[in-house]
């Protein structure tokens, strides 16, 4: 633990960066709002301009909060998968859980494309964005149950990895079939959804997303010892008295909650899950998940907030989809890190 002062400095630095990124995300957008007014909105809302109040509290704050939640959840999900499969390329989508969310959403948006079905579903009393979110959660939940059922029969994590990838491609193939037979307008709507967005989550949805992500994160933190043991190999973990199978189930549950809910609410957001764990290991130079999990949270939040700022294309009237920015910004970042590091040594 000789490194701990260093570590504290880094944590403090990241916290500061997080605060700055959050403020930056709140203060930058199409409409120019002076920084002073942003504080007015929060500290004396009665005197604030109502339009600015709406923009800050109704649009920018929920978006920033969604970025924070998604940043945490996807990064930690990615870390768990990379450890479970001891594979640097693993990310939260590797088990097919996000593909499951895709399938659920496609089922609503594409089958729903025929308006008759859409109205039929509406008669059930679910409508609007809840319908899409519910379908996404249901889709990822079904795939998760399937993964869990299979994982009870598979002894090896490598086999689990392959099965997960296979499930993902089956699911995406189903989505493709659905797209192939759907109307161009419905396909376009679905395509819009796959671009990912942080701006569509607000109000009650945000609270539910927050609750699910927090539960997923708590499970992840509780499982950090298992993750540490798994890093040393399943046989070692077993000799430590750890049931590899139970560990696997807990980790899969946690990742499913995180990735499934975030994908259902925001659409697929790629890259964060794969990149952030590498950055965290690089920065903290440790394999201990008690440190890596919070570190992933911090870095993931900062990365997604900054990506959201870039997606605003400051000064323009348009926003770019977040999924494009995460890859566009994240990939060069990871390449740079790898060039500096020369080898991946976390496993």
């Amino acid at each position: 633990m000789t490194k701990s002062p260093f570590r504290n400095v880094r944590v403090a630095g990241l916290l500061l960066l997080l605060l700055l990124a959050f403020l930056l995300d709140l203060s930058i957008g199409t409409i120019k709002i002076p920084l002073k007014e942003i504080f007015t909105v929060f500290f004396s809302p009665s005197t604030a301009d109502p339009t600015w109040l709406f923009i800050i509290k109704g649009i920018r704050l929920p978006k920033a909060c969604t970025a924070v939640l998604a940043g945490c959840g996807l990064s930690v999900g990615g870390l768990q998968m990379q450890t479970l499969f001891r594979n640097p390329l693993a990310d939260p989508s590797i088990l097919g859980i996000t593909a499951g969310a895709n399938l659920g959403v496609a089922a609503v948006m594409l089958a729903g494309g025929s308006m008759a079905t859409f109205y039929a579903i509406k008669d059930l009393g679910v409508s609007g964005s809840w319908l899409i979110i519910g379908a996404g959660c249901l889709g990822s939940g079904v795939i998760m149950l399937l993964v869990l059922a299979l994982s009870r029969r598979l002894r090896d994590n490598v086999m689990m990895l392959i099965v997960g990838i296979m499930l993902g491609s089956i699911t995406l193939a189903l989505v493709s079939i659905w797209q192939y037979f759907s109307d161009p307008e419905a396909v376009k709507d679905y395509l819009m959804w796959t671009f990912g967005s942080l701006g569509g989550v607000a109000g009650g949805q945000l609270s539910i997303l927050a609750a699910v992500v927090v539960i997923g994160l708590i499970v992840a933190l509780l499982s950090s010892k298992m993750l540490d043991a798994l890093l040393l190999g399943e046989n070692y973990a077993r000799s430590m008295g750890l049931s590899a199978r139970r560990a696997r189930i807990i980790i899969i549950c946690s990742t499913s909650l995180l990735a499934g809910s975030i994908t259902a609410f925001c659409g697929p957001i790629g890259f964060v899950g794969i990149a952030v764990p590498h950055v965290a290991r690089n920065l903290f130079n440790t394999a201990s998940h008690r440190i890596l999990i919070p570190a992933c949270c911090l870095i993931g939040m900062i990365l997604l907030l900054l990506c959201d700022v870039i997606a605003q294309l400051p000064g323009s009237q348009t926003v770019l989809p977040i999924n494009i920015i995460t890859s566009l910004v994240g990939s060069p970042l990871v390449i740079t890190l790898l060039l500096r590091q020369k080898s991946i040594n976390a496993w």
Partner: protein, 391 residues
């Protein structure tokens, strides 16, 4: 090859034989394009006034239709020769597709093509349809039921074999004239003429509606179509004079954001023209572009919060539906005052909205709706056709 009814071929040959005798007095001094041959090929000629996407020229024994595609300062043209069956193809048009007129069977890809055919009184000639999912026309729905009209699939799902076997007089597609026309190559190679109906690229409501003249020319029903269209245009102009001249211009927002992006009509789009003619104050009226602007929710928010009217809200049917999409929309001024109108009044049991079908050829009805919404009292009271207020 296409089947040609014996009677028709006979009549045509007869006309051809008589032509030299009957037209002799006009022969000298008359321009080729003006020459009238006996029973004129098309006594009523369509002149295109509002649309920019196509032209029709009348010649002695044929009509020439050009579908134009302007991209910046470049222009691409698709050339079609409309000939009576059996007539020889005039020289000098190496790239033209030949269409035998009058077209007796049509395959169409979009519901508004159905509306155009309905307008021209030839909806019963629609033998094929991309998909039967979005149809309002009773004639075509009956055709689908009896099997007179078949579904042939759209885009990548287009069943080429079926289309070729059906021997349609023409296939009307929705595609952009320059984009992905290659997918229809098989059909054209098989001798099936394919015409892109690019009315959606027009920038004015009357320009969009004027594409009915294309079907008019294809089916030799110019006289009927022109008369109807002229009255539509005249009514529209009158209404535009009334609406556009209104002293107060209530502010309007259009559409609804999806996942943080708000697509709103650009200033040169036909929707923006509708709003100008209806006497609405539209914030993006002077923006560039003929499609829609992908704006961030935030950049529309200042307008949305204060606008007097909220129109074309999409797939919602009540204020409750709007809140189910996103509770933030409840803060909009128009939502609180109840001035939310959607264009889905004529949605049928299949969930298909007639605004996109017959609305496209009845811009005068759409405009009257808009004026009645925005300026109550300016027109004689009447119920709305395509629009309804959301409760």
């Amino acid at each position: 090859m296409k089947k040609i009814s014996p009677f028709f071929s006979f009549a045509f040959v007869a006309v051809l034989c008589l032509t030299p005798f009957l037209s002799c007095r006009r022969r000298s001094g008359s321009k080729a394009s003006e020459a009238v041959a006996g029973k004129d090929l098309s006594p009523a000629k369509s002149r295109i006034k509002y649309a920019h996407g196509f032209t029709i020229d009348y010649y002695d024994r044929y009509k020439e239709v050009k579908i134009l595609n302007r991209a910046g300062d470049k222009m691409d043209t698709l050339d079609y020769l409309l000939l009576p069956a059996g007539a020889s193809v005039p020289p000098g048009h190496p790239h033209a597709q030949v269409i035998n007129i009058p077209v007796k069977s049509l395959i169409v890809m979009a519901s508004l093509h159905i509306a155009q055919a309905d307008f021209a009184g030839v909806a019963d000639r629609i033998t094929g349809l991309g998909t039967g999912q979005y149809v309002n026309s009773p004639v075509v729905r009956e055709g689908l039921r009896t099997g007179r009209t078949r579904q042939v699939g759209i885009d990548a799902n287009l069943n080429n074999e079926l289309v070729i076997a059906m021997h349609p007089g023409v296939v009307m597609t929705m595609s952009n004239p320059d984009a992905a026309f290659g997918q229809y190559r098989t059909l054209m190679d098989a001798g099936v003429p394919v015409v892109p109906n690019a009315e959606w690229l027009e920038t004015t409501p009357l320009g969009r509606a004027e594409w009915v003249k294309l079907i008019g020319a294809l089916t030799d029903r110019e006289e009927w179509v022109n008369r109807k269209f002229d009255s539509v245009a005249q009514l529209y102009q009158q209404l535009a004079g009334t609406g556009g001249g209104a002293a107060v211009k209530p502010s309007v927002i259009i559409g609804m954001p999806f996942k943080g992006t708000w697509y709103t009509p650009a200033g040169e789009s036909y929707m923006a023209q509708f709003l100008r003619d209806a006497g609405a104050g539209y914030h993006w009226s002077n923006s560039k572009g003929t499609g829609s602007l992908p704006l961030s929710f935030e950049s529309v928010a200042p307008e949305a919060l204060t606008a007097d009217f909220w129109l074309n809200v999409g797939y919602v049917d009540s204020k409750k539906d709007i809140l189910a999409k996103d509770t933030r929309y409840g803060s909009f001024h128009a939502f609180r005052t109840g001035a939310v109108y959607n264009n889905n009044n004529r949605t049928n049991d299949l969930g298909s909205n007639d605004y996109w079908e017959s609305g496209a050829v009845n811009p005068q009805l759409v405009l009257a709706d808009l004026i009645r919404i925005l300026h109550p009292g300016l027109l004689p009271a009447d119920s709305l056709v395509y629009y309804k207020q959301l409760k």
